[in-house]
């Protein structure tokens, strides 16, 4: 455990290991998303109530999952950065924030598009859409705070604190908003509980969720690598790498 943490301190080690890992995650993401999309859009049966419009679920639900998971990962990497001063963790948190905001936006937008055939309106102040909207504001706050500091170290620590404060608040916000107004259908997708939809609809959704997670890991690996090169541009191993490439 400690040996692993100590290895994580070295951006060079992470750069080497991520080079070996990232093709696998990219391949998994590509295969899963393509399979899930074709299966979900073309072969899964149409919903008996919502017809074909339910197929938005194959984008909406994975994006909503990621939107929440990314915020939690951001808080965890923030904690790791604050406690062990591991720079890689902060680099990962930096690249996660815009990705999480984008996923939140995709979930909101697909939810709005889905609202037109099901509710007859683009926007309803229902519990889940509202808490997603608040999550988007939390992401924008973290991104804005990181951008506001002149010194990178202060920016990193401030963003870490805000992500941790946010992650404590997310469940409180979620449940208070749910209490405030519940109009949405009950949760459609649970890993442990009873499956609320037939297998032919649920399997492609599972594939899409896994595909989105692989995409998230792959993208974070790739973008963290660029972030390492940017921040360590003055180090010798980066210069040697650049010379080799020339």
């Amino acid at each position: 455990m400690w040996a692993f943490i100590n290895k994580l301190r070295s951006p060079k080690w992470f750069y080497a290991i991520s080079a070996r890992l990232q093709p696998w995650f990219w391949a998994a993401a590509l295969i899963l998303i393509v399979t899930g999309t074709i299966w979900g859009l073309a072969f899964a049966p149409a919903d008996y109530q919502q017809g074909n419009s339910f197929r938005i679920i194959y984008v909406h639900v994975p994006a909503a999952f990621l939107a929440q998971s990314i915020f939690v990962s951001m808080a965890i990497t923030g904690l790791v950065f604050m406690v062990w001063k591991i720079k890689i963790a902060d680099m990962a948190a930096t690249v996660m924030a815009p990705l999480g905001a984008a996923m939140t936006f995709i979930a909101l937008f697909s939810g709005a598009v889905w609202g037109v055939p099901t509710w007859g309106t683009w926007w309803m102040w229902d519990a889940r859409l509202t808490s997603m909207l608040i999550l988007l504001f939390l992401y924008l706050g973290v991104i804005a705070l990181r951008g506001a500091f002149a010194s990178r170290d202060s920016a990193s620590r401030a963003a870490s604190v805000l992500a941790m404060v946010g992650v404590i608040n997310i469940p409180i916000i979620k449940y208070s908003v749910e209490w405030w107004y519940t109009l949405h259908q009950p949760a459609t997708f649970t890993v442990t509980g009873r499956v609320g939809m037939p297998m032919e609809m649920w399997l492609p959704l599972l594939i899409m969720v896994l595909g989105f997670y692989s995409f998230f890991i792959a993208l974070v690996l790739t973008r963290t690598r660029s972030e390492i090169l940017r921040r360590e541009a003055n180090k010798r191993w980066v210069r040697e790498l650049a010379e080799e490439a020339n």
């Binding site: 604050m82 608040i134 504001f137 939390l138 924008l140 706050g141 804005a144 705070l145 506001a148 500091f149 010194s151 170290d153 202060s154 620590r157 401030a158 604190v161 805000l162 941790m164 404060v165 946010g166 404590i168 608040n169 409180i172 916000i173 208070s176 908003v177 209490w179 405030w180």
Partner: protein, 245 residues
């Protein structure tokens, strides 16, 4: 032994003392100092109250002077306006201390920064949240808030604004080192205010409908207990970031 060495020794001896001895003194001194400073800058105490009254005046003008309509939206309006007034006053919470360097002295004291920051937040609540809560029923009359909900309005605002001050202080501490932190501060803090707003306005709404008010007030109290235990740590960490950055 020279005079300067003498005073140095005395300072070292003071530092070696049990931190418990000085803690109550330090917290009390911080409370007293902040209260005195705020009472000397009366406009900073009065401005949020004037802002509160002004915003409430805008709504009948912008929407409709119809008492029935106003009564229906009054709980939410009063709560949102009070929340914005409290938010407005946050920027000055640490600003003056940051500018004149006394915040750095606060960081250098041997006492835990979280508790000293808590004392500062308590003063902020005492001179912002509490007056807003006492003033809200008067504005409630002007919005023809139904009778029987005035006490609940004041109590819910007094309880809720304490949480608002604590959560807001995290944002104020994070942005105090930035030259133009005002708008950023509201962007950081407003999403975190939403649970307090839900249960605060919900309490007043429940009082009007004749439902049980205690459940809402109990949740407001629970939120306050949580904020009271965790927020000071976040405030202290944020102040350290802002000062050392």
């Amino acid at each position: 032994m020279t005079a300067s060495e003498n005073s140095l020794n005395r300072a070292a001896a003071a530092l070696r003392e049990e931190p418990g001895d000085g803690l109550a003194v330090a917290v009390w001194a911080t409370l007293k100092r902040d209260l005195l400073l705020m009472l000397r800058r009366r406009s900073e105490v009065l401005n949020p109250l004037v802002f509160f009254a002004l915003v409430i005046t805008l709504f009948p003008i912008g929407i409709s002077p119809d008492p029935a309509l106003l009564a229906a939206i009054a709980p939410g309006l009063l709560w949102v306006a009070a929340l914005l007034a409290a938010l407005l006053s946050l920027d000055s919470l640490f600003r003056a201390d940051y500018d004149d360097g006394s915040l750095e002295q606060l960081l250098l004291t041997p006492q835990p920064l979280a508790l000293l920051a808590l004392a500062k937040v308590a003063v902020h609540w005492l001179l912002t949240g509490l007056p807003l809560a006492l003033m809200a029923p008067v504005l409630g009359i002007m919005l023809s808030l139904p009778a029987g909900s005035y006490a609940v309005l004041a109590i819910s605002l007094a309880l809720g604004s304490a949480s608002l001050s604590l959560i807001g202080a995290i944002g104020a501490a994070l942005t105090v080192g930035l030259s133009r932190g005002g708008v950023l501060l509201s962007l950081l803090v407003l999403p975190l205010y939403i649970p307090v707003l839900i249960f605060g306005a919900g309490a007043v709404q429940a009082a009007i409908l004749g439902d049980g008010v205690l459940a809402h007030l109990a949740i407001l109290g629970a939120l306050l207990a949580l904020a009271l235990s965790l927020a000071p740590l976040a405030i202290a960490a944020s102040l350290r970031i802002s000062i050392n950055g």
